[in-house]
Amino acid sequence: MIGERAAGSSGRPLWRRLRLVLIALGVALALTACADEHPLDTLTEAGPDAREINDLFFPVLGVAIVVFFLVQGAVIYLAVRYRVRRKAASEAAADPGGDDLYGDDEYPEQVHGNLRLELAWTIIPTILLAVISVFALISLVELNEVSAAEDDLRVTVVGQQWWWEFQYHLDGDTSTPPDIVTANELVIPVYQQVPLEITSRDVIHSFWIPRLNGKRDAVPGRTHPWVIEADETGRFLGQCTEFCGLSHAYMRMYAVVLTPAEWEEWVQGQVIDAAPLEEGDPGYEGQEVFLANCANCHVVNGVTDVNLDGVLDGTEDYAGANSTTSALVAGAAPNLTHVASRTTFAGSIFDLYEDRAERIPYLEVAERGDLNRGDLEAWIRNAPERKANDADGARGMTAFPGLTEGDIDALVEYLMTLR
């Protein structure tokens, strides 16, 4: 990687320093080289798009590193080779403030330039860059190609302060209401290119799963096409990368890549609505708490009785179950119909289950995982304390000082029924 040489200019102390720095860098690199420890690493790709980008980036980086060594080598060589030492201190003292401390009349040959040389180092880099740009343009075209068929899975990605919504169109038709609406975890089948349509409900965000593809901004009022494809299964971390206000750092997401069979199973579990609980069912008290408080912003399909068509295609805000005006600037909060089937919450900054859920197969977390009760209850109790937001300005989840601990326990019990 370029840049970490303490590349400098000149003089003997440089060599000693350079050696020390190199040793330190070598040790440090050895300590941090493991890719598993860098969930956002752009250089360990897990999909064809990220690979295409790196196949372009590495050769260019290689050229840059060669030029780097040539130029820095020349700088150091010239500075050492042509340096002139100062006069001894005694001589300098004899001429204080004099216009020269180096020896007065020594001037090298006065060269004003060399047209041929200068033309050469204008034209050669131009050709070099022209060659690079050909490959860059080819990649650019390839990355913009959508190979997925019209009726393949298509996902609308909506950024909001400070979480992501994913609307699944299983038949690829984004003009109809989505089949699945989920948050923060984009579940896709392996080896299948999934076209995305990225937009935002408030400010500009940027959707980025670095190990799968580059980023694409989510701009309110615009829909940007993008694709995502993985050729290994697993969970791949993402991060909002366009500054979006207070909790920009806390706006994360995962791409969860499953085998096609697992993915089909996941879809079957997600398309069904939640059943309203009857009195006496476990979690019923929690459902009552939910409807009285959370349902002002959150949707549970089949339970909160709201027509979502206008909300989902962006023509109107979600007004909440109990009010006529939107409780949020963005107009929507995460859909909680199957919240217990996810592994993270609150913009993927908290694990829903203890012990890092990736040790358990994704489809089994709700059954086998141990609930991360501490974070979940703290979040319900006072969300702004756990994740900066502007609840007073209707941006982000508000605190619920009115809820008793009993209410919160009941609510958690209810949420865990939403698998």
Binding site: M1, G8, P39, I53, V60, V71, V75, D99, Y107, H112
Partner: protein
Amino acid sequence: MTTTSEPPLQLTAGEQLVRPSTSLGVFSRPRGDTGWQSWLFTVDHKRIGIMYGAAALLFLVIGGIEALLIRLQLAVPGGNVLSEDAYNQVFTMHGVTMVFLVIMPMAAAFANYLLPLQIGARDVAFPRLNAFSLWAFLAGGIFLNTSWFLGGAPDGGWFGYAPNSGLVYSPSNGMDFYALGLQIAGIASLVSAINLITTVLNMRAPGMTLFRMPVLTWMLLVVQFLLLFAIPVITVALFLLSFDRLFDANFFNVAAGADPLLWQHLFWIFGHPEVYILILPAFGIMSEVIPVFSRKPIFGYPFMVFSGIAIGFMGWGVWAHHMFTSGMGPVSVAAFSLSTMFIAVPTGVKILNWLATMWGGRLRLNTAMLYSIGAVAMFTIGGLSGVTHAIAPADTQQTDTYYIVAHFHYVIFGGSLMGMLSGIYFWWPKMFGHKLDEKLGKIGFWVLLIGFNLTFGPMHILGLQGMSRRIHSYAADSGFNLWNMFATVGSFVIAVGVLLLFLNIGVSRRRARGAPPVGPDPWDARGLEWMTASPTPVHNFDRDITVTRQDEFWHRKWRIGTDGKVTRIARATDVAHDGSATDVHLPSPSYWPVVVALGLPLVAYGLIYNLWITGLGALLILGGLYGWVFEPPDDPEAHEHDDHHDADPSDDSGNGASGGGTSTNGEDGPDSDDGARQLAGAGAAAGPSAQAAEEQP
């Protein structure tokens, strides 16, 4: 065009109060050349330049403290030095401060101080406007920073992307301060650009043709043109933002049909030329320093000049490379990717020409030279990483990560700031009559260089490992811990390096007391600015200088024989003016630039808090302009001791190849407010247009 053909009205001089007289058009002008008033009301380009520099160094400390806060916050995962809100304010103000209040005014300091000297002029074309630029810039900078104490600084990033910068998403007054403060600073830059362009085009010494001008003068000229065209664009954007926030306009309101990309285009059409506004002055400085300390002329002067001009033109065609991921469509992305790649060519030419200048030279590795060489080396790194994200597909991975943070710090810190530090060490003796301490300077350089690489080198790795920009915190399991700690340690090493500069200034200043003066030409340099005493006398040069070739001053000291050997023909002290002329007509100080500049932040405060204050500010501006217009061109009292120009108009040692000036035309003239014109007005190169260089408020 002259302001009046009448001789100035007689008036009572010596009154120090800023008090508009009731009698029409009769105001006194401030006098005296010592004390705070002599600085506050000065129109001398040198004092203005020094004040620009001092302000830039002050803001460097403020912006540096902000940088240290950022690094402290990010030193360990989950840092809690700053709240999310405070962090957003600090990183926004760090960017705004460093770009608008440090690098730009530092470039303005060099431009103001050196540009008239390098072209052999007495002052800039419009001395009072020059003073106004300084005070307006300072007013904007102070206005911006008062937001810290008035409910919160701007928190939308220096780039202020809509709609996040709108009232809904940024409800504090911070972004109002941002929009209005930058408009004020923009006025300063715009006025200054017009002033300096006029100066270069009209006020060059006899024989100083465009292609005899030093490379620094050229680069500063290019920068002024960039400012002239770029500042209006950002002003439009900021104006729209102000109207959205203050008067509920809908320019960036998506619900009302706006496209937020409008802001991005406007911002970056300004923002990318701005990058060259930041770097080209440093390129100019390096092109002065490297030849002097290599003891060779600049290698390929025409290539250096034309590559600078080429950068100035191409700089307008690359703005959207800041927007590769914002959804412009593949054709735009391809076009801007190409143009961005090819702007590397003229930049590369410059780097190789500096190296070729060093080739075969006799290098004197002074602090100034070290900083210039360091800037070449560091800028190269920034340029190379720039090529890797000119490749648009790669940029989709790199943009908005720390890879970009590393890139532009190598360009702006490693290139611009190091180049300007080189300039500080180089021209310090010219400005203050004594050198800065070399030992402290060199230690400072190495500390700064190591700290710089320790801080920003690891950020390349962090970026490629996926660390986003502008995040106030990162998770412990993201794998960013080690290099962030490196960067934080490095940032404090940088702080030590900067402190060493201030220590050096203090130590050298104390040592210089009672020591013999440094002489006009301590480095055996090449430019005209060295052809007069150090520190520069208030009237710059005792006589007109007739220029016959590039590096005129050097050629008066040295002769290149037919065998290529260089022999001394004169000592600098024989050639240089000693500053003893006492009869030079100079523009008089003025109260009004300060008054008008003071009105600007009042207008801005009023827009935020109470329109009555705006009215007050507007009255101050109008009153100030009124006083400005009717101010007598000269202070008649001053003539007794500082009378008009009557020196030998043509310089004795020049051979007058391009028909040196014969007479100056400003004698006793009522239109001689801009005394500088007298010096250059008669030159063949300057031509008759110089007569038109009249200040028109």
